[in-house]
């Protein structure tokens, strides 16, 4: 006997549940949310989320945010933006580094926007065509364990990571993700492929530990499992704030300089809420936000006149590596296959 649904039976309850869920969570296609901005960010959630709450009040918008994981820092969110390119969900991308937004610009996924609040930022931190704006920067630093390295033996250059004295006692984060990718690409740009590859291979011969993230590098140094590692200033200052026995070294101050990494904000082309997106960008580019990022996340303000907390160095006091972010972006893409092989993935 063939089974037929009883004609008096009610439709499956699950269909009703789906409809309730759809309305309960407020889908965009159901009602308009002109004052809502959707932002994807690779800036650590612990720092960026309070900023978004601030901007909700300051800009009169509501913000829905999506954060990256530590292990896929920057690239996970970036690739979601690329995957969603046909129908963008985000209005704004706030990147923890200045290079990944170039990949979006190259793919035509960015809408130019010149925020009035960007006018006081240095020219070199703004795209001439308005596609990106940089602010609130970190620097790449060496975090050194005080108990394991004396002042006299302090490493002063990233090349010290390959020093046989520190064999098996140094670490960097996975160069396939986050700011380490940018840093490695910057080295390739500055030194050339041959020298950069030779350096990375020496790191491997020196048994460098490849941590899952900059945060993991910090943990390794703080716990004394390694003597020093390459990480970002926000991770380093978190360790200092926690009272860890560490010190921060800005590498290569007598050489090529330390890599300074501004955060960058872009407006996504085709986002559902462009007006709210612009208001969010305007808020992010205020002195108030730079001040908060300096105080809470040890990010260096790049706008003149923003006070710098005691534990944060002013960007003007650091010799910065000379870089071209667009060129680094191209190098970053080009060296990926070699880097994957180097990492072993």
């Amino acid at each position: 006997m063939r089974d037929r649904p009883d004609r008096h039976e009610c439709p499956p309850a699950i269909v009703l549940v789906f409809l309730v869920l759809a309305f309960a969570t407020g889908c965009d296609s159901c009602k308009s949310k002109r004052n809502q901005a959707v932002v994807y960010t690779s800036v650590d959630q612990v720092f960026s989320e309070p900023i978004f709450h601030h901007c909700e009040g300051a800009a009169g918008i509501s913000v829905r945010s999506l954060f990256d994981t530590e292990e896929t820092k920057s690239t996970g969110v970036l690739n979601r933006l690329i995957a969603e390119a046909e129908h963008p969900q985000a209005d704004v991308f706030w990147s923890g580094d200045p290079v990944r937004p170039f990949l979006l610009v190259d793919r035509g996924l960015v809408e130019p926007y010149r925020s009035p609040n960007a006018a006081t930022l240095p020219r070199e931190l703004r795209a001439q065509d308005g596609t990106w704006t940089g602010f609130a920067a970190r620097a790449r630093v060496l975090l050194v364990n005080n108990n394991l390295i004396s002042e006299a033996d302090t490493p002063r250059s990233i090349r010290d990571l390959a020093d046989p004295r520190w064999r098996g006692r140094t670490a960097i984060a996975n160069p396939l993700f986050g700011t380490t990718t940018m840093h490695v690409a910057a080295l390739f740009s500055a030194w050339g492929d041959e020298e950069a590859k030779a350096f990375l291979n020496r790191l491997k011969e020196n048994n460098i530990r490849i941590a899952s993230s900059n945060g993991e590098v910090k943990r390794l140094v703080v716990s004394g499992e390694i003597a020093f590692g390459l990480t970002d200033t926000d991770d380093a200052h978190k360790a200092l704030d926690d009272g860890a026995p560490v010190r921060v070294v800005y590498p290569d101050q007598s050489g090529m300089g330390s890599l300074v990494i501004p955060t960058v904000v872009v407006l996504i082309k085709g986002g559902a809420h462009p007006e709210a997106g612009r208001r969010l960008i305007d808020c992010l580019l205020t002195a108030e936000v730079e001040s908060r990022m300096a105080k809470d996340a040890a990010h260096m303000p790049l706008r003149p006149g923003v006070s710098v907390p005691e534990n944060v160095r002013a960007v003007g006091s650091i010799k910065a590596m000379e870089v071209d972010y667009g060129s680094i972006a191209q190098t970053m893409e080009r060296i990926q296959p070699w880097l994957r092989e180097w990492v072993g993935l």
Partner: protein
């Protein structure tokens, strides 16, 4: 869908020759397979004797010990790794350089996952033993001592259930990303993850890497069908038959101490998290928790309903040997072991379209992803339940004109209410613990709690992250407790 699209476009075939031609690809696969085998063996070493003792003997407080032992399996393994780190990391509570070097390496991954997944083997061993015809046991006990009865009669007869446990542990380990990444061990699923999360967005390459895993999955399906087969169903239903436990005599005290020790070891990471969190963490965490707990609860509850509904239909068809059921079951098993990052990219490609925004921007996308990943749990659990019941009741009802839904609603559901509730409960806790699936496509502002913990772990206050992990564990414990009480209530009524 993205797998099909990539295959049809030739993307995967193009990448296959390059990606699969590299020696390191196969080296990584062998490493992952080796880790999975090691974890499975570890889970068997822990789970078989524990399951035999807890399932069949008069050990003191055996039900409580089983609950304590099994609890960690319902938590994201990453949380447990986090707890072990607070214990055995260099600056952990009992840590040193030596313990840290052990933890952050293959040994740490194997130990963490073996302890996390051993309860699966324990539970299935206990259930398998409890299914054995008591007359066989009684006959054995007239000629030999209880421990030989267990070793020579009960365990060999329970091997299909034990083998099923091994299969599940192997599959869970093979697709695990969070623990190996946290403990800095390179694995094959991580390679897939980097193809999709790395700077070079390469879904074609990721799909090419998935193909060997699919082959492994098909092998698991073959093993499941040929060697375990329908005998595993006997283990998964809920029993209402009570058998007197085997008396241990003088061995009762030492064996009770041993199983309670094994059970309490499972809780050590949670204790470490509690110490790290402290009272300040538990209150500070409330400022950071946001809507994530509600999101987790809602998405998991609805996904569990759908998984249960799937189980009712497909599981029933599987138990009654309907033609298409085996194929659907195999597909569900493959979805279970496919790396979740690939599943996630497929979800983005399939649902981020103008006409389906009401799905993609709401909790519905989470529900669909969880159902795709954990549907197999409902299918197998309810397949086992229906396998134990006679089809005659349904046939009689059909003869009187009752349709499928009426037979399901009026006969099968009331008859197997405990089994249905248990299936829902299992599906719910697995959905609650999920991280790897939903992290790729959760809607902005609707992150489930495991995702929130994972993203806050980057520079977030450690006591807050530990506290959020505990809130997750507490929520799971509450749901399991309520579910357990309801199951107990149903048993008393039946």
């Amino acid at each position: 869908m993205v797998l099909v699209a990539e295959l049809l476009s030739g993307g995967a075939f193009r990448e296959m020759r390059v990606t699969l031609g590299e020696a390191r690809t196969w080296s990584l696969l062998m490493r992952s397979m080796g880790l999975s085998v090691a974890v499975t063996l570890g889970a068997l070493v822990i789970g078989i004797p524990t399951g035999a003792v807890l399932g069949r003997t008069d050990v003191i407080g055996r039900r409580a010990a089983l609950l304590v032992h099994a609890f960690p399996v319902f938590l994201p393994p990453f949380l447990l790794a986090f707890g072990w780190f607070h214990l055995f990391g260099r600056q952990g509570l009992v840590g040193s350089a030596w313990t840290s070097s052990l933890l952050f390496g293959p040994f740490g991954v194997i130990a963490t996952l073996a302890l996390a997944f051993a309860p699966i083997v324990t539970t299935l061993t206990a259930l398998g033993i409890s299914e054995i015809d008591p007359s066989l046991e009684e006959a054995a006990r007239t000629v030999t001592r209880p421990h030989r009865t267990v070793m020579r009669i009960l365990l060999p007869l329970a091997w299909p259930s034990i083998a099923l446990g091994a299969l599940v542990v192997f599959a869970l380990t093979l697709s695990e990303i969070g623990v190996p990444m946290f403990l800095r061990v390179r694995t094959y699923p991580a390679a897939v993850f980097t193809r999709l999360g790395g700077i070079e967005y390469a879904p074609g390459e990721a799909v090419a890497l998935v193909l060997p895993l699919l082959a492994v999955g098909l092998l698991l399906v073959f093993v499941d069908r040929r060697l375990i087969g329908r005998r595993s169903f006997a283990a998964l239903g809920l029993r209402s038959r009570q058998i007197a436990p085997l008396p241990l005599g003088r061995a009762r005290m030492p064996l009770s101490a041993a199983v309670w020790l094994v059970s309490l070891v499972s809780l050590l990471p949670l204790c470490a998290l509690a110490l790290e969190a402290g009272a300040s963490g538990m209150s500070d965490a409330l400022e950071w928790i946001g809507p994530s707990m509600g999101t987790s609860l809602a998405a998991s509850a609805v996904a569990a309903v759908v998984i249960t509904a799937m189980g009712l239909v497909i599981g029933h068809a599987l138990a009654r040997r309907r033609r298409a059921a085996s194929t659907l079951d195999a597909l569900a098993l493959l979805a279970f072991i496919t790396p979740s990052s690939v599943l996630g990219v497929g979800m983005v490609a399939a649902w981020n379209r103008p006409g389906t925004q009401f799905v993609y921007t709401t909790l519905i996308i989470l529900v669909l992803g969880l159902v795709a990943r954990y549907g197999i749990l409902g299918v197998r659990a309810l397949g086992a339940v229906f396998h134990r019941s006679s089809p005659h009741y349904e046939e009689a009802a059909a003869a009187f004109g009752a349709g499928f839904f009426r037979r399901m609603g009026r006969i099968l559901l009331p008859m197997h209410a405990r089994g249905v509730l248990a299936a829902w409960l299992i599906a719910f806790v697995f959905c609650m613990r999920d991280l790897d699936t939903v992290v790729v496509f959760y809607p902005p502002g609707l992150e489930p709690l495991p995702v929130r913990i994972f993203t806050l772990e980057a520079n977030g206050p450690q006591h807050v992250v530990a506290a959020l992990s505990l809130y997750h564990a507490l929520l799971t414990a509450v749901v399991l407790t309520v579910g357990g009480l309801l199951l107990g209530l149903r048993r008393r009524r039946s």
